[in-house]
């Protein structure tokens, strides 16, 4: 739904997140990550037992790495935990459950969730340990793995610019998973570098139309 009231404070925005929720967080490493929203979640929310869907679990003490240090991530769904050694240690220590997904499958599963698709067949991962426990189907002689969509309760995304309706424009490689995650959660909170009037973003250049965005927050 479009934005009704303009940007809200990040602390108010993340108050929608409840213990046990699944939260998607955009970014490739820290590039394109909604760092203001993450900080608000770290500092002003006590929701725990969270499932975090993000390509990485931040870096040590940065981004989602802060939430990890608080012990509030029960489960991570990612393609690359390894970029944060503390995440690897948390998994090995039994403090966090890890679901490792090939990066293209991760992206497509989020896209599928947002697009109302119940699953898809991909050749990626077939015959490897990452396909264990998943249905396999042979399509035109090629083994494929059945992958299910990844939904979330709340998506935290970052865009360079948003307009007052919630239309979003991403900059360079900070786009990554953000537009996908914006479609795949019950509630999408977009952190933006600046808010402009409707009509300022060229209509043809809008990456995420406002119907996906529920709240806007300004980066600090």
């Amino acid at each position: 739904m479009a934005i009704a009231n303009g940007p809200i404070e990040p602390e108010e925005a993340v108050s929608v997140i409840r213990s046990g929720d699944t939260v998607m967080v955009g970014g490739f490493g820290l590039v394109g990550a909604p760092l203001t929203l993450i900080d608000a979640l770290v500092d002003s929310s006590d929701a725990d037992e969270l499932t975090i869907v993000s390509n990485n679990i931040g870096e040590p003490g940065r981004g989602l790495g802060k939430l990890l240090r608080q012990g509030r991530i029960a489960r991570g769904i990612s393609s690359f935990f390894t970029s944060n050694p503390e995440a690897v240690a948390a998994v090995n220590g039994g403090e966090m459950e890890a679901t490792l997904v090939p990066q293209g499958t991760f992206a497509e599963a989020i896209r599928a969730a947002g697009a109302g698709i119940g699953g898809f067949l991909t050749p990626v991962g077939a015959g490897t340990v990452l396909a264990e426990g998943k249905e396999e189907h042979v399509v035109d002689g090629v083994p494929h793995v059945l992958e299910r969509p990844i939904h979330a309760d709340v998506a935290l995304v970052h865009a360079a610019r948003g307009d007052e309706l919630g239309n979003l424009w991403y900059r360079r490689t900070a786009r990554n998973f953000n537009p996908l995650m914006a479609t795949a959660a019950r509630v999408t909170i977009a952190e933006v570098g600046e808010v402009v009037a409707a009509g300022v973003l060229e209509a043809e250049s809008i990456h995420t139309p406002h119907l996906y965005v529920d709240e806007l927050v300004l980066s600090r």
Partner: protein, 217 residues
């Protein structure tokens, strides 16, 4: 592994690329390829969402929103395009990326690749490795012939966790070039001063020899 060995492998891999191809480069030796392309202009794709990767930026060109898949700063060339991660991997899986050049821990005689995990260690980072080896139209593996402990990396059967089965097309080491042809491993070129005996000693799998098939460099 000396710098010279890495550069030699990358230089030979660079000769496999044709003008205008869409190429995705892994970390390590493949990252040396752009500096060794000479007059061959290719378009570099990085899976975090950019086609048209340029050289590393100078300090005054650093842009926090512009990185490659290794999370290192890059520039974008004129005519570059940005896209989201789902589209980037659709390009890869859909066969729109011509070549992936990547490192490996092991390659088998049937082209199986193991390049993302070591047995007994954490298997917590796969990134785009599996998508790339499955989706790219040609997969060029660049690796030293043997591991740091002297074990051959070309083997009959991979013992490390697989990235994909039957995915490798070309394997370039400091000693030689192998091609996977009709599901057979074929030695097609000896590099530098390498001899057939040296290659046999450094290879843990049977292979055919067809040195006449040498590519024009």
């Amino acid at each position: 592994m000396t710098v010279d060995v890495r550069t030699a492998i990358a230089a030979r891999a660079a000769q496999e690329l044709r003008p205008g191809e869409i190429v995705n480069l892994g970390i390590g030796i493949p990252n040396l390829v752009p500096g060794l392309l000479g007059d061959t202009d290719v378009f570099l794709h990085t899976e975090n969402g950019l086609l048209g990767v340029g050289p590393r930026p100078g300090e005054d060109e650093l842009d926090p929103d512009l990185i490659d898949a290794a999370k290192q700063p890059v520039t974008a060339l004129v005519g570059a395009a940005y896209f989201d991660s789902a589209q980037s991997f659709a390009m890869i899986r859909g066969g729109h990326v011509d070549v992936a050049v990547l490192g490996a821990l092991q390659v088998s005689l049937s082209g199986d690749i193991a390049n993302w995990a070591v047995p007994g260690k954490d298997v917590l980072g796969v990134g785009g490795a599996m998508d790339l080896v499955v989706g790219a139209r040609r997969v060029i593996v660049t690796m030293t012939a043997t591991s740091s402990t002297g074990e051959p990396k070309l083997v009959s059967e991979c013992t490390y966790p697989l990235t994909a089965r039957g995915a490798a097309d070309v394997v370039v080491t400091e000693l030689s070039v192998f091609r996977l042809r009709d599901e057979a491993l074929v030695l097609t070129e000896l590099l530098g001063d390498a001899t057939l005996e040296q290659v046999r000693a450094a290879t843990g799998a049977p292979f055919d020899v067809d040195l006449e098939d040498r590519r024009a460099a």
